[in-house]
């Protein structure tokens, strides 16, 4: 996983992001991984592993208008298992059958992301699996998938043509202190003690710092903070 994230971090073009989506799909062990965004001007962009003939067909048939995944996720922010959506309409059932015939899979999990200035993105994995197997997969991997979705979106935003890059997310002095103490081997309880804040507060500060560093876990966050020269131990 660290390797995939490192690869994502280094992406500099949309072609590379496309290749990273394929690597991520293989890493996740699912049939497909797809990323799609709409910005405030209604411009769309996507990448991922859906077969080109399916993407073509999706556009030609105007499936965007009936796709329950889009309808259920747009402007919202909770992750959605496709099973929880309403697939009961006739047109929707035909759409689902068409998708399955094109190898999209009978299961999916989509993570909506609301970015800055009205940007909306959807990060999806889809697969052929039984309900039980899929439930085990999403339960075991939900956390990583949510993080990947956000980091993927972050990178896609960076690559948006004409965009002025946002300054790298700075850590506050408190977050730097917490990460530094973790780096020198303090436990969270010891960090809390040293900073005179509760352990719960420490957990939240570390969680925030991890996210800003684009890390999956604390070890990874410490490594990244050191690599970027944010902490010195």
């Amino acid at each position: 996983m660290d390797f995939i994230l490192a690869q994502l971090e280094c992406v500099e073009t949309r072609e590379e992001l496309q290749r990273t989506s394929e690597a991520l799909r293989d890493f996740c062990g699912v049939d497909h991984l797809i990323y799609h965004w709409v910005n405030s001007n209604g411009e769309q962009w996507g990448c991922g592993t859906y077969p080109p003939d399916w993407v073509q067909r999706y556009i030609e048939k105007g499936y965007l208008k009936i796709d329950p995944v889009i309808q259920g996720c747009y402007r919202h922010f909770h992750p959605v298992d496709w099973k929880s959506l309403d697939w009961s309409g006739k047109a929707v059932r035909a759409f689902l059958q068409d998708a399955i015939d094109h190898g999209i899979g009978n299961q999916g999990y989509s993570i909506p992301i609301r970015g800055p200035n009205g940007q909306f993105a959807l990060f999806t994995v889809s697969h052929h699996a039984s309900d039980d197997d899929w439930a085990s997969f999403t339960e075991a991997n939900r956390r990583d998938l949510i993080l990947l979705a956000h980091y993927f979106n972050h990178k896609a935003l960076e690559l948006e043509p004409g965009r002025t890059p946002e300054p790298a997310q700075a850590l506050s002095p408190r977050e730097v202190e917490a990460i530094t103490l973790l780096a020198v081997g303090y436990s969270r309880a010891q960090v809390a003690d040293a900073l005179s804040i509760s352990e719960h507060t420490v957990r939240v500060y570390i969680e925030s710092a991890r996210f800003k560093l684009g890390a999956l876990n604390t070890t990874h966050a410490v490594a990244r903070a050191m690599a970027r020269g944010l902490i010195v131990v």
Partner: protein, 213 residues
């Protein structure tokens, strides 16, 4: 019962929505005297209501508003990061696993279980969507109410004194806390789960549809 409604779904529940925004005006403007904006219809809204937040609402058996709270992910704009970072050691709290809970409001005539039922619903959101913490802004009176229902937040920082004290706090939700809150709410965990799944789908009929297709 609990309703989970994004702002863009409120139009299907116009009376409930009106009652919620009026009760918010009553709580935050009339009773707490916070500097909030109340419109000509007597409804309180702020800029965050325009960002399509998720409302968790206790709907009374008569279809009225018993209480509510407003949830937003901290990866977008939040009240805590925009206005209260001096109470969080200057840390911008930002993670898909930390959501902000604000405008926790109880109707004047709310029954004793309403606050607990809302907290219980907050627990459903955590379990269902992988949320690990809430960060919230609340007044001194809510501190007592949260304590009473057995779901006290960890206070990170406060400003003001006495009744005017405003705090930023954190919640996580252990199974023990959940059991305690369910008891205070007088709502069984099964019923609580049912309300959540009715709103967001779950092991409902959609499963069968999916397989059949």
């Amino acid at each position: 019962m609990i309703q989970y409604l994004y702002a863009d779904q409120l139009s299907s529940f116009p009376a409930l929505a009106r009652a919620m925004f009026r009760d918010r005006a009553d709580q935050f403007a009339t009773r707490l005297k916070w500097a909030v904006e109340v419109d000509a219809q007597g409804e309180e809204r702020d800029e965050y209501d325009a960002l399509n937040p998720l409302y968790v609402i206790w709907e009374t058996s008569a279809g009225g508003h018993g209480g509510s709270m407003r949830l937003m992910p901290t990866v977008g704009r939040t009240m805590v990061n925009d206005h209260f970072s001096h109470l969080t050691d200057g840390v911008r709290i930002e993670s898909p696993f930390i959501w902000e809970c604000t405008r926790f409001c109880l109707a004047r005539d709310a029954g004793p279980g309403v606050a607990a039922a809302l907290m219980l619903a907050g627990g459903e959101v955590m379990r269902g969507f992988g949320v690990e913490h809430y960060v919230g802004v609340f007044d001194a009176r809510m501190v007592r109410i949260y304590r009473m229902i057995g779901a006290s937040p960890e206070i990170v920082g406060s400003q003001g004194t006495g009744a005017d004290r405003i705090s930023v706090g954190l919640w996580d939700f252990t199974p023990e806390a959940q059991a305690r809150v369910a008891q205070r709410a007088g709502v069984s965990p099964e019923l609580s789960r049912h309300w959540f799944e009715r709103a967001f789908g779950g092991a409902g009929p959609a499963r069968g549809d999916m397989r059949a297709a």
